[in-house]
């Protein structure tokens, strides 16, 4: 992570690119975690 940044644009391009990829990963990760969490729940819920 020793990238050199000459401008604010460079910095934001770098950090936001990683952030956007992470956001996708987090969303998928949360979905998988929810499936793990509720994997053994009874199928019929009243709420």
């Amino acid at each position: 992570m020793d990238a050199l940044f000459y401008t604010l644009h460079d910095f934001l391009l770098h950090s936001k690119s990683i952030t956007y990829m992470m956001m996708g990963a987090v969303l998928i990760g949360l979905l998988l975690f929810w499936l793990f969490l509720s994997g053994r729940d009874e199928k019929k819920r009243t709420f």
């Binding site: 950090s15 956001m23 793990f36 509720s38 709420f47």
Partner: protein, 388 residues
């Protein structure tokens, strides 16, 4: 409750009473020293570290752990999860005591505590975050008092006022959620004024989000933790409904906490990515940060998840202890440990024993009042005159 009569002839010198009495006695002496000698007489605070554990522990942890009130009442009255109804009163009581003690602790920490009402009534600084926190805590404490009052009114036999207050439940719940959202996040936002003092791993533009999201699972975990303690020591005060619903409350709240905690971990890493602070993770501070995040958030989240899948009550209770400790560690890291991290060790803050004793004194008062209320008022059971 028939069990109440069995307790009448008990000696008052129980281990709990003796230890609590000693702590309160010490606390009262230090209170006299604090209000006669000033902050310098009892604290290690200085110009570099004007906020110590009375803010970091008593206030930040107190407010975060009291979040169980709004989380539980919102789940029951707003999201309609009536199976959590028996958890509402204990949670509201804990929240009310938590906030009342936060305000009490603030009297010790503020240089001129008699001026605490000034920002609300005399000179509101409407552009200040601290004003927003003060106003919200003041209003929310009032809301919690009204939300708690039906239990006290039932105990006192004041039916008419009690029925009037109960009708306000939904409005108070909505008001409580709004106020909590505002001030839980604003407490984090307070530290955004100090980007040069707080370590970059803990400093982020998302601090308000971190504080709010962590308050949700702190509240859920605290309800589970407090419920397990109540089951051990106040089991005889619980009615059938409470006993039947308690396992469902612990497992349901554990499941919710697990999901929110994993979301919190995601947002924390996004915070690091936004500021490009990855290189700090390879330092000693980074290891401490990862210990806080993995050891006290990811691990209890998985413990909660496994417990919810296996319906393992024991595991959910252990997870709640770890999660509560994690929130305490996070708040202390932000306010004390990682604050002024670049200063030489001689200039760093470590609380005096009297500061720690006052914090212990305040927690003890909370436990004593909680015990007083729960052994007398209908908190764990429905009053026979008002059952529905």
């Amino acid at each position: 409750m028939p069990q109440e009569t069995a307790q009448v002839n008990k000696s008052i010198f129980t281990p709990f009473n003796v230890i609590a009495g000693m702590i309160i006695f010490c606390g009262l002496i230090i209170t006299v020293l604090r209000f006669t000698g000033g902050l310098g007489a009892v604290t290690n605070l200085d110009d570099n570290n004007p906020w110590g554990i009375w803010i970091g522990f008593d206030l930040l942890c107190g407010v975060a752990l009291a979040a169980g009130g709004y989380v539980t009442s919102a789940s029951c009255y707003i999201f309609g999860l009536k199976r959590f109804h028996s958890a509402v009163r204990p949670a509201i009581l804990t929240a009310f005591l938590g906030y009342a003690l936060v305000v009490m602790a603030l009297h010790y920490d503020v240089g001129r505590p008699w001026r605490l009402p000034y920002p609300i009534f005399l000179s509101p600084g409407t552009t200040s975050l601290l004003f927003e926190v003060g106003l919200c805590v003041f209003l929310y404490l009032t809301v919690l008092f009204i939300e708690f009052s039906p239990a006290a009114l039932e105990w006192l036999g004041l039916k008419k006022i009690r029925n009037l207050v109960v009708r306000l439940t939904l409005v108070l719940t909505i008001f409580g959620v709004i106020l909590s959202t505002l001030h839980q996040s604003s407490l984090g936002a307070l530290y955004m004024i100090a980007p040069s003092k707080l370590h970059p791993l803990w400093y982020s533009g998302y601090l308000p989000v971190f504080f709010f999201v962590s308050s949700v699972f702190a509240g859920l975990s605290m309800v589970i933790f407090e419920g397990s303690l109540a089951h051990r020591h106040l089991h005889h005060k619980m009615d059938e409904t409470h006993l039947e619903e308690s396992a469902g409350v612990a497992l349901g709240f554990g499941k919710a906490a697990a999901f929110v905690m994993m979301g919190y971990v995601g947002v924390k890493f996004i915070g690091i990515a936004m500021d490009n602070n990855w290189h700090y993770l390879a330092t000693g501070w980074g290891l401490w940060f990862l210990l806080e995040l993995i050891g006290f958030v990811v691990v209890p989240a998985f413990m909660y998840a496994i417990a919810a899948r296996d319906r393992n009550l024991r595991l959910v209770r252990w997870a709640s202890i770890l999660a509560v400790l994690g929130v305490v560690l996070n708040r202390l890291n932000i306010s004390v440990v990682a604050f002024n991290w670049h200063l030489p060790s001689a200039d760093r803050y470590f609380p005096s024993w009297m500061e720690i004793a006052i914090s212990l004194f305040i927690v003890t008062i909370g436990v004593v009042v909680y015990r007083f209320v729960t052994t007398r008022m209908p908190i764990f059971y429905e009053h026979p005159d008002y059952e529905h």
